[in-house]
């Protein structure tokens, strides 16, 4: 599903990633871990096409991100959900509208948008908050809205960058349970985290980064 070949990424003189080669199979649940500044966020951003690699290749579902145009990348993003640490919700739109946005950009019919957005919000337990605004919600609820938006299109891949970074242990467990449920439905899930507690509780594959290098796997 995701293949990385000799990936390098520099930001000016700073080397963010060095020679990363990785293969994530379809339906796999993988944690990308390592200390702060290890390159986890950069790796996920490269997989999502937000950044371009300095060298090397990224294949998502067989599509080489280096070789596709801007428009095709927009279309590919509809197949890849991304959950940001800072949620990236539109504060001027309701919870429902935030989730519906991911469907509206695809040009879906309003009736379909209503149905799917409602289902996604139900799956994260936020049906009663549909008409609330993000700033009226707790951090955990906001993260669940972000997850609902990321999964509403039934993505092939779900990328999550430190999705529990701002949450307490109870909310962290709640969010991880959501990811496992999504994974059970067949979605490939990649979660970047530096939380040791979270990693100790899981038996999933772990890819370990340090100073931009892939130093091992568990």
């Amino acid at each position: 599903m995701i293949q990385l070949f000799h990936l390098f990424k520099n930001f000016g003189a700073n080397v963010a990633l060095q020679d990363i080669s990785l293969r994530i199979r379809k339906g796999e649940f993988v944690f990308v871990t390592g200390p702060s500044g290890a390159g986890k966020t950069t790796l996920l951003r490269l997989m999502f096409g937000v950044e371009k690699p300095t060298s090397g290749h990224i294949l998502i579902n067989g599509i080489n991100l280096n070789r596709i145009g801007r428009k095709k990348l927009d279309l590919l993003r509809r197949k890849v959900g991304f959950v940001f640490q800072d949620f990236k919700l539109l504060t001027g739109r309701t919870v429902f509208e935030n989730v519906a946005l991911a469907l509206e950009v695809r040009g879906e019919r309003p009736s379909y948008v209503r149905k799917k957005a409602h289902l996604a919000l139900r799956s994260v337990g936020l049906v009663k908050k549909e008409q609330s605004y993000p700033l009226q919600l707790s951090g955990g609820e906001q993260q669940r809205v972000a997850i609902a938006r990321a999964i509403v299109n039934d993505p092939l891949v779900l990328l999550a960058d430190e999705p529990t970074g701002n949450l307490d242990p109870d909310l962290t467990r709640e969010i991880m349970l959501l990811f496992r449920t999504i994974h059970m439905k067949g979605t490939t899930v990649v979660v970047a985290t530096h939380s040791r507690e979270l990693l100790q509780e899981t038996a999933q594959r772990q890819v370990i980064l340090n100073r931009g290098r892939l130093i091992g796997e568990k």
Partner: protein, 297 residues
């Protein structure tokens, strides 16, 4: 692009206008002022041009006769004029009549004529041409012919100074093009910056839309509609204010401009439609330029 997205785009554009209403009010006001300046110029130009053409259509000519012209020579001149299609002899003025007319025109100052040893004014024939279709007289040619006649001293016709006016109108037209062009550029600059401001105010939103897979056109379209709305509102208001101004001026024209004798009309529908369409087009083009710059970054 899917047609069913149209309501979504229009809704988004209206929401954008509402959110950035102050920026849009400033933008629309400036556009309206620009179009009003141009519209007022067009209104003036159109009327002056019609007056000049109106006068040109009713060309008049004065044939001045030598003193002591005999009846046969005068009759020859009169019959030549009568033979010209569309020519009408308005009146024949004797020397004495010309003197009395001048005296009447001078009013209280008429006594300055008392010291004259003799009447210096010539007798004349006033001719008015009412050209019909395919029958436009050539006053220059006619003057040459009349001046060869015995007893004719001088021939003057109104088109001589109309031609001078035509030259002035050409300058006027050129000035209009320059003013219109400059105002058009100004309007384009205003719309571009108005839309740029609304884009910047929604930069985060655009970023998030792109992250969930929105294409560039999906993001751009509401802004293009927003620019068009600005153009539609500006065009409509400009025409409305221009027309109201015209109505007020038409009522008071006798007092203000002393133009009561002239027919002051509003610009034709084709002109108002052009102003409106140009306004919409500039709104659209302005947004297009703003978006082009934004999406290049």
């Amino acid at each position: 692009m899917k047609l069913r997205l149209a309501p979504y785009f229009i809704r988004q554009a209206i929401q954008n206008v509402r959110k950035n209403w102050l920026v849009h009010i400033v933008g629309v006001s400036t556009m309206v002022i620009s179009f009003l300046i141009f519209g007022a110029f067009l209104l003036l130009f159109y009327n002056v041009d019609s007056w000049i053409h109106g006068w040109g259509d009713s060309l008049s000519m004065s044939v001045y006769l030598e003193d002591g012209i005999d009846g046969t020579a005068k009759e020859k001149v009169l019959s030549l004029i009568r033979g010209i299609p569309g020519a009408h002899i308005e009146r024949t003025i004797t020397k004495k009549q010309a003197f009395l007319d001048l005296k009447r025109a001078l009013g209280r100052e008429a006594n300055i004529l008392d010291g004259l040893p003799r009447n210096p004014l010539p007798a004349s024939i006033e001719v008015v041409f009412r050209p019909s279709e395919g029958n436009k007289p050539d006053p220059g040619k006619l003057r040459k012919k009349l001046e060869t006649f015995a007893g004719v001293e001088e021939v003057q016709y109104s088109e001589e100074w109309l031609n001078r006016f035509e030259g002035l109108m050409r300058v006027f037209r050129l000035a209009g093009l320059i003013i219109g062009g400059l105002l058009g550029l100004g309007v384009l600059f205003i719309v571009t910056n108005t839309i740029k401001l609304t884009i910047y105010s929604r930069q985060e939103e655009i970023g998030i839309m792109k992250l969930v897979g929105a294409t560039d056109w999906f993001v751009k379209t509401p802004f293009l509609i927003e620019g068009s709305i600005q153009g539609v509102v500006s065009g409509f208001l400009s025409i409305l204010i221009l027309y109201s101004g015209y109505i007020i001026l038409s009522v008071k024209k006798a007092d203000i401009l002393g133009l009561a004798l002239l027919d002051f009309v509003f610009i034709p529908n084709s002109y108002t439609l052009t102003i409106f369409l140009v306004s919409v087009a500039l709104g659209l083009l302005g947004s297009f330029i703003a978006l082009g710059r934004f999406f290049r970054i």
